[in-house]
């Protein structure tokens, strides 16, 4: 079966939660949803691997959760609002999670936001982002 290409896949640094991604992410998102109950949050933190075994997620999804690989969780069908429930369970803020996704420290991220946020210039398409990155000597 061939999956269709969509224009929004050209957005850089973004995984749009569309119907195909929703399909793959279903067990992963069900895990996140379970963290809306205090007892479940405690059970998860007490033994993460064991807790995760009740959800039919892929090995890659499980590893991404255990290692808090936020972007991988998005790529594998996690919804950002659901990921946030894991961040909250870890006693972190939304802002912390967003900073982790960008590879910045939380303070760097806060400073960027206080300075007006990330400019859209250079971030409209994957090709534009690539051109930009080549201009930067890291």
């Amino acid at each position: 079966m061939k999956e269709q290409h969509h224009e929004y896949e050209d957005l850089p640094g973004t995984w749009v939660f569309d119907a195909q991604r929703a399909r793959k992410g279903y067990p992963l998102n069900n895990f996140f949803m379970s963290l809306m109950k205090e007892d479940n949050r405690k059970a998860f933190l007490a033994d993460e691997s064991n807790y995760l075994s009740q959800f039919k997620m892929s090995d890659a999804q499980r590893d991404a959760v255990l290692n808090r690989q936020w972007n991988t969780m998005l790529e594998l069908g996690g919804v950002v609002y659901c990921l946030a429930k894991l961040a909250f369970t870890d006693q972190h803020s939304y802002q912390y999670m967003a900073a982790e996704m960008t590879g910045m420290s939380e303070q760097e991220y806060v400073d960027m936001m206080l300075a007006g946020g990330r400019s859209v210039d250079g971030w409209r398409s994957k090709s534009e982002t690539k051109e930009n990155a080549q201009g930067d000597e890291v």
């Binding site: 224009e7 929004y8 957005l11 850089p12 640094g13 973004t14 995984w15 749009v16 939660f17 569309d18 119907a19 929703a22 279903y26 998102n29 069900n30 996140f32 949803m33 963290l35 809306m36 109950k37 205090e38 949050r41 972007n71 998005l74 919804v79 950002v80 609002y81 659901c82 946030a84 429930k85 894991l86 961040a87 909250f88 369970t89 803020s93 939304y94 802002q95 967003a98 900073a99 996704m101 960008t102 590879g103 991220y109 960027m112 936001m113 206080l114 007006g116 946020g117 990330r118 400019s119 859209v120 971030w123 409209r124 398409s125």
Partner: protein, 282 residues
């Protein structure tokens, strides 16, 4: 006759709720944003609507992934506050208006909008943070609320045009309710923001300003903005702005802009706020 007299556009974020609940509204970080809503709270007190129609989105709190309704109307007596992962916000329970909600559902479905009817639903920060910003911290909310939840989580949300037309149908529905009621309608979410992936933190002030300008002057342009344009120009989550179009169209053609406020940042979000008065004599 019931009338929609005013529309309120207002962003929502969990962090705004946390700042209110933890008494942080007067810190250096938050003061500039909360000051922008002082005039709005005063206006709200003077306007004293009987009912609020709250067009907002749920963030996977009331709705999980078993079912994803595109438009869902809350028809319950009351709506408890959801525990989003850190305990429920300590805000009053939200009281509904089931009789009017039932009337709206009936009217709007016959107007060819196939809404989902919800008789039990918790509400999350998408609904409660605009309430806090506009009503402060009362012991009980001074208004009854009809929540209309719009799917903006799984792509695609309804189009701007569909939202705009829903607003028109809501106006018709409210005006056919035989009770003198002052109804205000909220469009929440936005403005520019992206809270996921390496592109998180994106803000486009110019896009937001143009959107606010046209909300008053040229809403017909806004209804044709494609999802991709919102996402590309103003961040993946900026597509929430389609909900503001429901609010705008429910006010009729002409509006008076009463108040406007814009502030960056609230966490990752460009906070936009506008109050529009409906010109009901048109």
């Amino acid at each position: 006759m019931a009338k929609i007299t005013a529309g309120i556009g207002c962003s929502h974020t969990p962090a705004i709720g946390a700042a209110v609940d933890l008494g942080k509204t007067d810190t250096d970080y938050w003061r500039p944003m909360f000051e922008g809503f002082e005039a709005s709270k005063k206006w709200m007190q003077e306007t004293a609507p009987d009912v609020v129609i709250m067009v907002y989105n749920d963030h996977n709190n009331a709705f999980d992934f078993k079912m994803i309704p595109t438009f869902a109307v809350g028809c319950a007596d009351e709506f408890p506050i959801a525990d989003e992962g850190w305990g429920a916000r300590p805000v009053p329970i939200v009281k509904g208006y089931p009789e009017l909600a039932a009337h709206i559902v009936q009217s709007v479905i016959l107007d060819e909008f196939d809404l989902t009817i919800v008789n039990e639903m918790e509400v999350d920060h998408g609904l409660t943070t605009p309430m806090s910003l506009m009503f402060g911290q009362p012991d009980a909310w001074p208004v009854r609320v009809i929540p209309i939840a719009v799917n903006v989580v799984q792509y695609p949300p309804p189009t701007g045009n569909r939202c705009y037309n829903l607003g028109k149908a809501l106006k018709k529905a409210v005006e056919s309710w035989d009770e003198d009621l002052n109804v205000a309608i909220f469009g929440t979410g936005g403005m520019s923001h992206q809270i996921q992936g390496p592109r998180a933190g994106l803000i486009n002030k110019e896009f937001d300003k143009n959107f606010l300008d046209d909300l008053s002057r040229d809403p017909e342009r806004l209804k044709d903005i494609a999802h991709l344009e919102y996402m590309r120009e103003a961040g993946a989550e900026a597509v929430e702005l389609v909900m503001w179009l429901v609010m705008r169209a429910a006010l009729g053609e002409k509006v008076d802009e009463v108040y406007r406020f814009y502030h960056v940042p609230a966490s990752s979000t460009g906070v936009g706020h506008i109050i529009l008065k409906a010109d009901n004599d048109e």
